[in-house]
Symmetry: C2
Subunit: 343 residues, 2 copies
């Protein structure tokens, strides 16, 4: 069919040099004092025949790919899917494309994917990583690769980051439950030891300490089969009949938790008040609607992309690090509100 058209073809047709065409196409016509008239002729013809420069060749030459590597825990997780969709839209609007990958919290997989990103010469990285990649990310930072961590930090690495203040979010959620008169507030959290989980736990712990309430924390092993997690949660609730409120530290724990409570026939909030981190359709439409600590996804996506682009455009300032912390919002719904006695 349509023969692939090259820069050489268009130069030949217009009887100018390849350099002229390239310069015009890259907006250096003025700088190189190419006449407006010639520049216009080039642009017109390029447009007419629909010439598109080969990006591979361009990238090989310039070292830029205009591709951003985005690594999330699991693209099927609504939190990450939503952030990814927002980032994609914003990146596209600024001329960047996204390659995304899910780590499933597996450090070995994350390591491979990071290598893959490097092999593909991505211009920048947006990363929500499992623990254990400090060395790899540290190396990227030292080589001045534009990079932003999000959702969770790596303990041993100083890098650009956009995170949500989970400590405050959980502190407020816990306070809210205690203010409603719930006595035994449990926290269900993963045992992955990631920084965002540590912060959420710490917020809970602080609120409990301030009210002189004993902590009740269930660290569930993750990842494992959903059925198993539901089982584990049922066992936990069965073992703690006096527990009258529970906080789930992330969205899928909330989902599995609701399933476990349903299986046990526990009434929410009469028998057990519930709050989950992260908001989504399920929590909003559940009966009763579930109180959540909602993360500001739009702001997060915007800050991620603009921080990364600033690093990309920046003059390779070694050492300038931007760390942003966004505030989540407690959205109170029926699942955490005390039912008047005898009502």
């Amino acid at each position: 069919m349509k023969k692939k058209i090259l820069i050489h073809d268009i130069a030949q047709h217009l009887d100018v040099s390849i350099a002229t065409v390239s310069l015009v196409l890259n907006g250096k016509a003025k700088e190189k004092r190419i006449s407006d008239e010639l520049a216009r002729r080039v642009l017109t013809y390029v447009d007419e025949v629909g010439y598109k420069p080969n990006q591979l060749a361009k990238s090989l030459r310039t070292g830029k790919t205009h591709v951003i590597g985005l690594m999330v825990e699991d693209i099927a997780n609504p939190f990450f899917a939503t952030v990814a969709a927002l980032i994609e839209k914003k990146a596209l609007a600024r001329g960047y494309r996204i390659i995304y990958c899910s780590t499933n919290n597996d450090p070995a997989k994350a390591r491979d994917l990071l290598t893959m990103f490097q092999e593909r010469h991505v211009d920048g990285y947006i990363l929500a990583l499992p623990n254990g990649l400090d060395a790899e990310v540290g190396a990227l930072v030292r080589r001045d690769k534009p990079l932003v961590l999000f959702d969770r930090l790596l303990p041993g690495v100083s890098a650009n980051a956009v995170v949500v203040d989970g400590a405050t979010g959980m502190y407020q959620a816990t306070q809210h439950l205690l203010a409603q008169g719930f006595r035994q507030v449990a926290l269900v959290i993963t045992q992955l030891g990631q920084t965002q989980m540590a912060a959420r736990r710490q917020g809970y712990a602080q609120a409990m300490r301030e009210q002189r309430r004993p902590e009740l924390v269930y660290e569930i092993s993750f990842p494992q089969e959903p059925e198993q997690m539901v089982q584990d949660l049922q066992a936990f609730f069965a073992a703690h009949p006096a527990c009258d409120a529970v906080l789930f530290a992330t969205n899928y724990l909330g989902v599995y938790g609701l399933e476990a409570l349903r299986n046990l026939g526990r009434r929410i909030p009469d028998e057990l008040a519930v709050i989950s981190f992260d908001d989504n359709d399920l929590f909003r439409l559940y009966s009763p609607p579930i109180t959540v600590v909602a993360q500001p996804m739009e702001a997060m996506a915007e800050d991620l992309i603009s921080t990364l682009l600033a690093a990309l455009d920046g003059p390779g300032d070694t050492g300038r690090i931007v760390q942003l912390q966004l505030t989540p919002q407690l959205v109170v719904r029926a699942s955490s509100v005390r039912v008047p006695v005898g009502a």
Copy 2:
């Protein structure tokens, strides 16, 4: 830091030619009768210094990128997010990477993204497209580009495809409702005129016709703001008080529909039975649990990737087209089961 190491460096160090190193690395040592011992020396050293060939240069030379372009309607839609996650995993296992993009059902955006995929020289395409891209996709097919459509077909294009038999799915769902004794079964569907929607509608229509029931179809405009869709749905249900069962043709319609019904205070299934296309956590955990027509996502992802890889590896067989149709599964839950009168 670490200087980027090139094939030239390793050839020089081992005192062999660049060609030898390249041949060994590309598994052509045997073919070119390079001694096993030399081949081993090369591999060992490459491994030792961690040399990674520049993929950009390699791609420019070979014309292969080992990248697959995946285009979905919206990556934040759980159906597409789940399929994308499965495809990514399977592709990675076979040495391919995914670039994904969301079209948001905008033909202009889809057209741009298709151009972008071509500029990036993706090796193959997996596409769930809005209508109106027949010409563009037709051109790809004619140029023998490996490509698989999914979820919906383009009316004017013959291409590889993996779709779900939505007609049968909806037919069974409608029959089920009628068998339960519901009388006025409505269908809520988008007005986008896409093939998957047409099939689902046709399945509903056939079941209604067979039982001599009049159709009641609400074509909602899409895309628009969620709040507006909920409003529209409330107005629809308010205008049809005699309607005692409803089918939602896709997952987000189901979600908005549940929200509308909740706002109206309609009891499910007493006042209105509900079935939605697509399964997810929300439908499974809703009170009452929602009956769904579940798509076989795992099988779909597997068929998509293997069909595409077959086309990629194939001997450029012009004209060989594979079209697979998978069977969805009706999962009956409480939302569509008649409550015994007086129970």
